[in-house]
Amino acid sequence: MSGLAKVVSHRLFWPIVMLLVLFAINLVAFPGFFTITVRDGQLFGSLIDILRNGAPTLIIAVGMTLVIATRGIDLSVGAVAAISGAVACSIILGSPEPGNLATVAVAVAVALLISLVLGVWNGFLVAVLGIQPIIATLILMTAGRGVAMLITEGQILTVNSPPFKFLGSGFWFGVPVAVVIAAVVFGIAALVTRRTALGMLIESVGINPEASRQAGLRARGLLFAVYTFCALCAAIAGLILTANTAAADANNTGLFIELDAILAVVIGGTSLAGGRYTLFGTLVGALVIQTLVTTVYTVGIPPIATMVFKAAVVTIVCLLQSPTTAASISGFRRRLAARAGKGLAAS
């Protein structure tokens, strides 16, 4: 295969092309799209916004990737995000010194701890009771949002705590904190799964559970681990989402984020049937989705057409990515080459 053909046939080729096309559309609609300026020592620009707003989706998608690699799925991430935001905010609100760093640290720690419990719960339903993941996590998806609302009593809890707000809209060496957190989560996940045996074992369980069991894998333990990790990711995302507006909105925090996360994973080339996964693909997928959302705003697509636009983009990416398309493109190229060859021979 020629170098170009290899690039084109890479799974991520078309998603990346789509990303670039979306960038180009933005650039036409708004020439300052690529401009990144430094304002008060902070990076400022549309691309930075995309990264920052895409961070929660990416973080959840990272956890989701691992869950999907085991042939599972986690619908409860949105609810877990809502719970963690609600817990953190209610702790901060309940404390006498909401602006205190220690208060925020405690709130964040408690929220993350609770998410671990929720993750273990999902893991228990899936790994021990053997309930199908979509249903097992549907339970927490439904009940979890109820729990979040129970914590906030259905109100939006607004907190006035600069350290907490920092998580969502602060900057760290000029880079949005949310982006830094996402990068750390992404890096840790990539390192831990690829530098240890975890990644291969997770894939093995996803591809052939019975063979993996017979090879002595601790499938149960792995399932517990991935669901817990996914819940942890969801909680981190929930904290960022909550901190972004400095308010816990149990109803809306992380609503439908599971769909975005799954979409990101799949656009990135990880199969929902489990097995081989690519975290880098997930990163690209998450960027495509966030850019899509931002494009809708900047280009001024009317709200009534938004969904149709989304459908079109998703469909186009999927069709281009399809092996069928790849085959017909290469067939076409081969025919072209054959014709050229014949031409040469004739002359």
């Binding site: 619908l75 009771l129 053997g130 309930i131 199908q132 979509i134 249903i135 097992a136 549907l138 339970i139 927490l140 998806m141 439904t142 009940a143 979890g144 949002r145 109820g146 729990v147 979040a148 609302m149 129970l150 259905g154 149990a250 769909l259 799954i262 979409l263 799949v266 656009i267 199969s271 929902l272 049937a273 709200p303 009534i304 057409a305 938004t306 969904m307 149709v308 636009f309 989304k310 459908a311 079109a312 998703v314 469909t315 999927c318 069709l319 399809s322 092996p323 069928t324 398309t325």
Partner: protein, 308 residues
């Protein structure tokens, strides 16, 4: 499936003991009246899930067919044209989804998610606000009751839904197409090597799901007599849950339509209990639904594994 049935009866009896007026024939029949559309959706979803796929677009397609019905009836079209048109359109949408999945190897989750966006988007394009239906035939179908004696009655929708169920049972159990559906769920590659018409069947399954969604949309408009773009959000999860509660494996290849019907009834009875309870706050309602679902699934799991 028998376990599901037993559990359902148990829940119903417990409800009857706990709530005044619960244990009546009409409350039972209302499960069908209120959930006729969901039964039809679950039937279509059963086909899809049996092949190992999934269809996320059904909720949005229900909304879309409601919008089409309402807007066309408003402009004076006859129901005799509108209803078949809806069924054709939703089947065609299903066909496109099926082709995307089979020919282009797009994962069902994504293909149907795209269809969901598209259908929901088209709802808004048709109209942003809700549209009433005043067309006499529709109204007649919505309000008429079929008496069953003893003061009990059902709606025509129930009859339609049950007819769909009967047809689906027959197709899945007794036709080559139906068995091929199971075969694909058991192993698509094997089915292919056995020379079964995998391609046709796989695409057709999504056509069926599209058709069922369209029909469910029509039944839903009988129920609400209006089209509303935001309606039936998340209904796909109800349908999937019903199918799974009914004992169908999401990996495909194993399950029954009647199980899915039971699954719908289970969801319905949970809903009914919550209304009868009448004191739950909004959040407790959610927690309660989750808890009941959990209890149900765990009991089902425990009972089935013991029988094996």
């Amino acid at each position: 499936m028998t376990v599901t049935a037993v559990l359902f009866v148990a829940v119903f009896v417990v409800g009857g003991i706990r709530y005044r007026g619960f244990f009546s024939g009409q409350v039972f029949l209302n499960l069908f009246v209120d959930n006729a559309y969901l039964i039809v959706l679950a039937v279509g979803m059963t086909f899809v899930i049996l092949t190992g796929g999934i269809d996320l677009s059904v909720g949005a397609v229900v909304a879309l067919s409601g919008m089409i019905a309402a807007s066309l009836l408003q402009t004076g079209w006859s129901p005799a044209v509108v209803i078949p048109l809806i069924l054709v359109l939703t089947s065609v949408l299903g066909l496109l989804v099926g082709l995307m999945i089979h020919v282009f190897k797009v994962q069902p989750f994504i293909a149907t998610l795209a269809a969901m966006f598209l259908a929901r988007g088209l709802c808004y394009v048709i109209s942003q606000s809700s549209i009433s239906i005043v067309e006499p035939t529709f109204v007649q179908l919505a309000v008429s009751r079929i008496p069953l004696g003893g003061g009990l009655s059902v709606t025509p929708s129930v009859i339609i839904a049950l007819a769909v169920v009967a047809l689906a049972v027959w197709v899945l159990h007794a036709t080559r197409f139906g068995r091929t559906v199971y075969a694909i769920g058991g192993g698509e590659q094997s089915g292919l090597l056995m020379g079964l018409p995998v391609a046709r069947t796989k695409v057709l399954v999504y056509v069926i799901s599209g058709f069922c969604s369209g029909l469910a949309g029509v039944l839903f408009t009988f129920y609400t007599l209006s089209g509303y773009p935001l309606t039936a959000v998340g209904t796909e999860l109800d349908a999937i849950a019903a199918v799974v509660i009914g004992g169908t494996l999401l990996t495909g290849g194993y399950g029954f339509v009647l199980g899915s019907v039971l699954g719908v009834l289970v969801l319905g009875v949970i809903q009914t209990i919550i209304t009868f309870e009448g004191t739950l706050s909004s959040w407790w309602t959610k927690i309660f639904i989750g808890a009941l679902l959990l209890v149900f699934i765990i009991l089902q799991k425990v009972l089935t594994s013991r029988r094996r």
